[in-house]
Each structure stands twice: as C-alpha cells, then as structure tokens.
Symmetry: C2
Subunit: 112 residues, 2 copies
DNA sequence: TTGGTATACATAGAACTTCTACATATAATT
DNA sequence: AATTATATGTAGAAGTTCTATGTATACCAA
C-alpha cells in the first residue's frame, strides 16, 4: 500500500482512463479493477471514489445510467464527449508529469 | 505548469532527493533547481516549500546550518542519517508508484 | 439461523498538503 | 529612484482523500 498522499491528483485521471478503456463501469468495479491493476497497492476507498465520481458528473465529464441487477440498482458511469476530451488531456499531462518526475529523481535537466 | 494537484504527495520526496544529490541546499536554491529540472513546469511556491522544510526538520529528516552571505543569513538544509534512510524508501516508493500508474494508464495488470 | 464476507452505493467530518497572499529585507540592475 | 532578483517566513484558504459510519442485498459456512 502506497503512502496515501501519492494518489492525490491522480485519482480522477485514473478513473477517467479506466472508463475510457472499458466503456462503462460501476463504482465498485472501478475499485476492484484498480486493486488488480495496482497489484493491491492502490485501494480506493468509497469515501474517495464516490465524491470523485459525483464531482466528475457535476463537471459534465461522465454520465450515469442505472440498471437493475436482481433487486438492486447498479449505477454505470461512462464518459461524455467532454469527458473524452478531458481524459486525453489529463492522461497526457500525467505522462509528462511522470517524465518530469523521473528527471528530478535522477537530477538531470529536462533538456538532456 | 502542471495541475497543482499532481505535486501533492511528491514534493517531500523531491526535496529529499535533491538534498541527497547535492549535499546541502538552501530554500531558494531548491525552488530554482526544481524549476530548471522540470523545464519550468513545476514552480514551488514559498508557501509550499518552507512549511515542507520545517516539517522535515521537525521530523528529524533534515538539519540546518546558517551561513552569512554578505549581510544576510542563508539557511542550508542537509539530510540527517534518518533522512538518508527515509529518502531511499520514499524514492523507491515513488518509482514503484510511477510504474503502477503506467500500468493503469495502459490498463494492463501489474503482473504482465 | 446466525454470523461473516462480498457486493454496492453513499455521506459527514477529519486530516493533510499545497496554494494564494502577504510581510520583511538585501542586492543588483535599469 | 524604481524595479527585479534573491531569500526566508507566516496565516489562512482551498482542495483531495481518508476514516468512520450507514444502508441494503446476496451468498456461504458453521
């Protein structure tokens, strides 16, 4: 399990990227997918996930549709067009940030 | 300039790594070094840097010594033994986190 | 049938980091 | 004389994620 602080700033991008890759997902599914992809090192809590999803919806980046699974409602999230554009930008930015971080961790100028 | 949130959780590790690499540095020097290493994309503000440095000192990871430069005091920061151990751990953790992030951004399981 | 675990969504309030904005002061440049 | 760069620092705001809790269904084992 990573230090909690590391995830800050990346959670939204992670969620968007997973939705982009998988079309539509529901909340619990996202937590499980991240758990698997991170080899159990990133465990997203409900208190992190749902506020993040609600904010994405408020911002118009994702939309929801509900399906009945047996007796209960499952809420699927998927990207809007605006969300698709935003995902691309955020993923690019994160890739660049990772590159910059690696420069710093080796203390080499970016130009090298 | 990156979205501000991305830096969260990595600033302390960046500071420690720079101190590890350079022996001793003063605050302003750290901001300038990060500016160069990040190609102007990470601009650490005083309000971020000094609280972070003070916390590192409170936690015993860095120590300070002051030098007179002309009429003014310059405060140099350097790693304690505890700080050196901590730096190694944090840098390793950050490298692993970056690897995990890259897996997620390509949506591949860690084991692959 | 009781208890525990997994699934599934959600909120309130705490904790933490970084930011904006401000304050202070010297040195160098225009 | 005014501005910019150097240099350290604090107060309070903003933002994200976490802990803890609540609700409910489904499944399995004892």
């Amino acid at each position: 399990m990573y230090s909690k602080e590391l995830l800050k700033g990346t959670l939204t991008t992670i969620i968007l990227k997973l939705l982009s890759h998988n079309g539509k997902m529901y909340g619990y599914e996202i937590t499980q997918r991240v758990k698997i992809l991170s080899d159990d090192k990133i465990l997203i809590k409900e208190g992190s996930l749902y506020p993040a999803l609600h904010k994405l919806k408020d911002d118009g980046l994702v939309k929801t549709d509900e399906e009945m699974i047996g007796n209960r409602v499952r809420k699927y999230y998927s990207l809007t067009d605006k969300g698709k554009l935003s995902t691309e930008k955020k993923v690019n930015e994160l890739h660049q940030f990772i590159g910059t971080l690696q420069n710093i961790l080796t203390d080499k100028p970016s130009l090298a």
